[in-house]
Symmetry: C2
Subunit: 342 residues, 2 copies
């Protein structure tokens, strides 16, 4: 019997990745190239087609049933339109799902990358078996996705779960969005790195500055130094854990998930932060929410790929509402080579 | 043809109300009694049975298809259990849906009162026609419910949308839950009244103290005085509106509803607060969320009743997941008179 698989695309601002993924979430073929993010949508769509051909050539016996694409928001998952991803130059209201359907001859589902990762962790990773899950990714910014009863929580225009811009305090640095007190502004890896940089000085001989070669200290350096039991790094990570605990408590109250899954670069330090995160939740959450597990993501950088694949592999189970029919695209259909075989 | 209706029960801490509601959301019979909240569940369940008989006698020709009950949380809507409502003495893990099914001989659905009101406003009120809705009730505390694609967002144990205990700042009075910065602690009608009381003094001749007869000033007094263009009241209401705007912006980012519906006592002043609420949202929300309408609830105190009715009238449309089967109840089945006819 031919194995069914989905072609999964993870369209990142720096890396474009493709995989063939089966119904067990196994990656059977994989390829990646640097995204030509400055070159506009035509070029990037050409890259996607080429990458699709590459992974298909790796595993030609598979029966590919559809294409799941994870891409940076904002995007409209129902209409399949990339609304205006800030990390991709020249993308404005690109009907990516329609274009790829025509080029690849397969049904295509488009999803926000954080939502795709949430779905991947729910179906195959740290949230397996849960009815509902909140996925939070803590790295440069803070993003997330929510799965309820096997469905991504979309809301209007697919914009639900903009976790990073939840106001949790009235202090700290102004967020990139212009507001004081965003979860992202105070608890992202960037915020942690900024506090660590401010607490040290080039040439001060601190563990943090040694690790950063006297340049700016990043969140990763703080985790690394805390693991070596550096006191300053441990205190900074403790403050970070407290802020994460404040934000996570809100997410428990608002979504009441069965499990809260933490990914992103800062999740590398989750074991060190766990005691303070848990103490903060115990202190701030109402009783009924205190025993919800907060666990590290299991699928790493592949969460988005397997989540995107599951959009098409399990669509019959209601993972994603059917895309709303859209009219004929007015997007110019540039004559890129068809690959036909996928 | 016999008109189909549901028996709706709104089990409040002070008032117990019952109605027969048809599929258009019309209330065809209504009765209410003061809840014997101190007398324990047996007595209150007897009150429910008696009230059911009363409304049925008012409209005996209706075909009653089931019973929808709205009750204070925490409760488990899937199991149909009132977990421990703080306003009802002696209620602990009462399998209310099972008990009422046996006593009334009809299928029973139990729902959190704020969720029931959200569902009522979504199906018959201010949220009619929306795919998703956030309902916020601002009065003594702040509560809410979220409807997504026609379903109440339940989460684990039905505990989602605990909106009042979302942390939005790090200032203000400590919340009843013990935390600083809860939405409820800073933006409820109680918080507004407290600020108004602190800003005035008995006998100072202020409009607020005249309205309160020199006793504590309430949120309602502030709305009343602001409507009479009292400067202090207007300034207090403006501060209230700003805090509501901060919390509402979070709800837009987190749930991305098509509409945000505001009920509760303070909603009486929503017209006066609207400019500042909207300005705060424009200032703090990301662009894609700024045009979501914030509107007053339309169903008033009947929102919970018609929402509870719609739990059974529209259950086939997936309003509520089927209750999980529960084992034989161990709750003592006191020999209260059966009413049979309903």
């Amino acid at each position: 019997m031919t194995t069914e698989a989905a072609l999964a695309i993870d369209l990142g601002g720096t890396e474009l990745r493709a995989a063939l993924v089966d119904r067990e979430g196994k990656i059977l073929a994989f390829a990646a190239v640097p995204t030509q993010a400055q070159a506009g949508p035509d070029v990037v769509i050409g890259q996607i087609e080429a990458l699709a051909a590459t992974v298909h050539a790796e595993a030609p016996a598979l029966s590919v049933v559809g294409v799941g694409v994870g891409a940076p928001g904002p995007l409209d998952p129902l209409a399949g339109i990339a609304v205006g991803p800030p990390t991709l130059t020249g993308w404005l209201d690109v009907p990516l799902a329609d274009i790829l359907e025509r080029r690849l001859g397969l049904p295509v589902r488009l999803e926000n990358d954080a939502n795709a990762a949430a779905l991947g962790e729910w179906r195959f990773g740290a949230g397996h078996g849960a009815r509902s899950l909140v996925f939070v990714t803590v790295s440069t910014g803070i993003g997330g996705g929510v799965v309820v009863d096997g469905r991504i929580l979309h809301g209007r225009r697919g914009l639900a779960a903009e976790i990073g811009h939840m106001t949790i305090t009235n202090e700290g640095e102004r967020c990139v969005c212009g507001v004081i007190g965003c979860f992202e502004a105070i608890a992202s890896g960037t915020a942690l790195g900024r506090r660590a940089t401010a607490a040290t000085a080039a040439g001060d001989g601190s563990a943090l500055r040694r690790l950063s070669a006297d340049a700016e200290v990043t969140g990763r350096h703080v985790v690394e130094a805390a693991r070596l039991r550096d006191d300053l790094a441990s205190a900074l990570l403790d403050e970070e854990a407290r802020w994460l605990g404040v934000g996570f408590t809100n997410l428990l109250h608002l979504y009441s998930p069965d499990v809260l899954v933490v990914g992103g670069g800062i999740a590398n330090g989750l074991d060190l932060m766990a005691p303070t995160i848990e103490a903060t939740i115990r202190q701030r959450a109402m009783r009924a929410y205190r025993d919800v597990p907060v666990v590290p993501a299991q699928l790493g950088r592949h969460a988005g790929l397997v989540g995107a694949a599951s959009l098409v592999l399990f669509d019959d189970e209601g993972t994603l509402a059917a895309r709303m029919p859209v009219g004929p695209s007015t997007y110019p259909d540039t004559p890129l080579s068809k690959i036909g075989t996928v």
